[in-house]
Every structure is written in structure tokens, then in C-alpha cells.
């Protein structure tokens, strides 16, 4: 019976000083092949200086159905933003 190549997620740092960003996914038999394929698929035009690959099954993702309880509580906490605080116009650099 044939085993299919697993799916990997690819993260690329486009230049030093920037974070690795999700670029896409691909299939490969193992981590080394995933890195080599990622280089050919996602960095043919100098898009990157560093690549991470991680097997997709190892990612735990939040469920969009729970987005409300996860993210809505932050919406009414306006006091976490600097614009919530009223200061006189004369105050500079704050």
C-alpha cells in the first residue's frame, strides 16, 4: 500500500530583521525534502534568506467558531489604547 507524502507548512524570512511569515504549504516525504522543495517552490526570486518547515499536523489552530469568546472581550477594553486618555493640547511628546 502506498503512503502519501505528508503536508508541510512553509515559513520564510524575507530578509534579516523581519520575522518568518507563512508562505504556503507543500507535500514532502521528510523535513529535508520539505526544505528543498520549499526553496524551489517559494524562493525562486530571492524571496527569502531563511526557511522553516513544520508538518501541518503539528499545528494547533483556534476554531473560527470560537472567535467570539476568544477575541471579542478585547473590543470593549478601549482603555488599553493611548487615545482613551484625554490630555490638554499643550502637552507635547506623550
Amino acid at each position: 500500500m502506498t503512503k502519501n507524502w505528508p503536508l508541510w507548512e512553509v515559513f520564510v524570512r524575507s530578509k534579516n530583521g523581519l520575522e518568518h511569515r507563512h508562505f504556503g504549504s507543500l507535500h514532502a516525504a521528510d523535513a529535508n525534502m520539505a526544505l528543498e522543495n520549499a526553496r524551489d517552490v517559494y524562493t525562486r526570486r530571492n524571496e527569502g534568506v531563511s526557511i522553516w518547515v513544520v508538518e501541518s499536523k503539528n499545528i494547533t489552530a483556534s476554531n473560527p467558531e470560537n472567535s467570539g469568546e476568544l477575541f471579542e472581550p478585547a473590543q470593549d477594553k478601549v482603555y488599553r489604547h493611548p487615545t482613551f486618555y484625554d490630555l490638554p493640547d499643550e502637552i507635547k511628546h506623550m
Binding site: 502506498t2 503512503k3 502519501n4 507524502w5 504556503g24 504549504s25 521528510d30 525562486r44 476554531n63
Partner: protein, 318 residues
């Protein structure tokens, strides 16, 4: 989930799209949205992959090292585009193997244009200029489509596509500035690729079964006829610069519309090719199926090697 729950979710979904919000793979979506996207994205991926075959025909016979390197890079891009699109499609819960199987069994379609042969080197020029030109017109609006993974793949595809068209046009330009025979070769390629390129943008709006729904989901932002007119209007002046003639006796500038009027498209030919009776349908599919079957031992070998390495690691850790 009750029927009224689903109706409610559908209403919320349609509102999100109307607000130009993107839909991501794990979001709730109507089954028809999922199916339509799997169909369109996979057809698009298949077209990229099959599209490598007519061009592959000329790699070993490219007239110079410069042309050969460019053609190889273009074909490699097409493999890449296929891979971006298959990945985007898989986020909808279909596996890569199912997608390949649909292509190889003939259940899934790919762009009909790739069923035409590349008989001279000028065909490589015409494909880049016309076929990639039509593809760009089709693809640019898709960068804004509602399904996030498809839109992101399209942004990457479109960035790379413009080199394809320019290299094709440059081939045509070189031939048209060459000897009489070379120019005749360019004209012959235009004669053969013009009409199939117009057909590539899909059936006319009144015959297109998917257009209305696809426009609503922003899976399509312009109708086939609008895209075709845009393609003609921008391509005809490019043919003039080459000094070759578009093979349509009814083609003429319409001052009032600010567009070119053009002749009747032979839709019988289009449907014949779509249904599998084009000049190269069988050849293309057998090349694909052979590549897949003959690559099986490599895929299996890679899995066996990965397993062996994994076992070794486990053994040395214990």
C-alpha cells in the same frame, strides 16, 4: 444543524462577502461555495501543470542558451503555480491524490488551449504573448477574490506571470524583425493561436452557466465577454507593433464604443476541444498519467527512506 440554522449562517456568510471580508479555510461556508471553489481552483492548478507540456516540447530545441534558460524558468514557474493552487485547494478538505485522480481520470477539466500543438519555435512566442496575456487578464481580478487562500496564491502567480508574457512578446519581436521566413513563422503562429486564445476566456456570458453565482461570490469580478474585449483591445495594438495581422477580417476599431469589434468565434471548435477531441487531448493526458505512474517508485522510495531515517533516530534515542 437545522435548516433554519443553515439559512441563518448562509445569510451571515453572504453579508461577509458583500462587505468584502475574506473567507478563510476553516470558516463556515455553504457546501456549494466549497464545491465551486474546489472545482475552479483545481481546474486552474491542472491548467498550470498541463500547460508545461506544449512548452516542454521546445526546451531542447530553443534557438539559444538565453532562450532556453528563460523557457526553463517559465516552465518551472508553471509547476510552482500549480503547486500554490493545489495547496490552496487542499485547504478546502480535498486531498492532493483526489485532485490528481480527477485530472488523470478525465473527470476534471483544464484549459482547452493546451490541447493545441506547438509545431514551430514561434508558437513558444505566441503562447507567452497571447496565452499568458489572456491568463493575466483572467487572473488579475482573482487577486481580490473572496476566498483567502486562492487570493493569496493568485497574488504570487500574477507577480510572476508578467515575465512570461514579456519573454513571449520578445520572441515574436525578434522573429518579426528577422528574415521574411522568420516573420512568416510569427504570422503563422498568430494565425493558429489567436482564436483559441479568445476561446480561452470562456463561453459567452449568455452561455456561461457559472458566471452569475461566481460574480456574487467574487470568484469572478468580470464576465467572460468583458475579459475577452479587454484582451482584444490591448492585444491588437501589440500585433500592429510586430507588423503582423490578426486573422479576423471583421476586426475593426469602433470609435463609438472605444473598443474593437470582432468576428464570430467558432464555438463548435471550443466545445469539441473541451469534450476531448482537440488535436492533443490524448497526448497531453497520456503524458501526465505516464509521468505520475512512472514516478511512483520515486515517491515510494522517498517514503521508505524517510521511515528508515525516523527508525534510526528512534533506535539511537532509546
Amino acid at each position: 444543524m437545522s435548516e433554519s440554522d443553515i439559512k441563518n449562517l448562509e445569510a451571515i456568510f453572504e453579508e461577509r462577502i458583500a462587505r468584502d471580508e475574506k473567507i478563510e479555510a476553516k470558516d463556515w461556508m455553504p457546501e456549494k461555495y466549497r464545491k465551486t471553489h474546489i472545482r475552479q481552483i483545481s481546474q486552474h492548478a491542472h491548467s498550470e501543470v498541463v500547460g508545461m507540456l506544449p512548452e516542454g516540447n521546445w526546451i531542447t530545441r530553443a534557438p539559444s542558451l538565453r532562450r532556453k534558460a528563460a523557457l526553463l524558468a517559465k516552465i518551472q514557474d508553471e509547476a510552482g503555480h500549480g503547486l500554490y493552487l493545489y495547496s490552496a485547494c487542499e485547504t478546502l478538505g480535498v486531498s492532493r491524490e483526489e485532485l490528481y485522480d480527477q485530472l488523470h481520470s478525465g473527470k476534471a477539466k483544464y484549459s482547452s488551449i493546451f490541447n493545441y500543438p506547438t509545431v514551430t519555435w514561434a508558437d513558444i512566442g505566441a503562447i507567452g504573448w497571447l496565452v499568458d496575456g489572456a491568463a493575466i487578464i483572467n487572473q488579475v481580478p482573482l487577486c481580490n477574490t473572496s476566498f483567502g487562500p486562492y487570493a493569496r496564491a493568485m497574488v504570487r502567480v500574477c507577480k510572476e506571470e508578467s515575465f512570461h508574457q514579456r519573454q513571449g512578446y520578445e520572441i515574436m519581436l525578434t522573429l518579426c524583425r528577422g528574415t521574411e521566413e522568420q516573420k512568416a513563422m510569427a504570422q503563422d503562429a498568430l494565425n493558429r493561436w489567436w482564436w483559441p486564445s479568445l476561446m480561452m476566456l470562456g463561453p459567452t456570458d449568455d452561455k456561461s452557466v457559472h458566471t452569475a453565482q461566481s460574480m456574487k461570490w467574487k470568484l469572478k469580478r468580470k464576465t467572460n465577454d468583458e475579459l475577452r474585449q479587454q484582451f482584444i483591445d490591448q492585444t491588437v495594438p501589440q500585433a500592429d507593433i510586430l507588423g503582423i495581422t490578426v486573422p479576423d477580417k471583421d476586426l475593426k476599431w469602433n470609435e463609438e464604443r472605444g473598443s474593437y469589434d470582432f468576428g464570430e468565434i467558432d464555438w463548435d471548435e471550443f466545445w469539441q476541444v473541451v469534450k476531448g477531441h482537440g488535436p492533443c487531448n490524448k497526448e497531453r493526458m497520456s503524458a501526465r498519467v505516464n509521468a505520475w505512474n512512472e514516478g511512483k517508485w520515486v515517491r515510494d522510495g522517498a517514503v521508505a527512506y524517510a521511515q528508515k531515517q525516523e527508525d534510526k533516530k528512534m533506535a539511537s534515542a532509546s
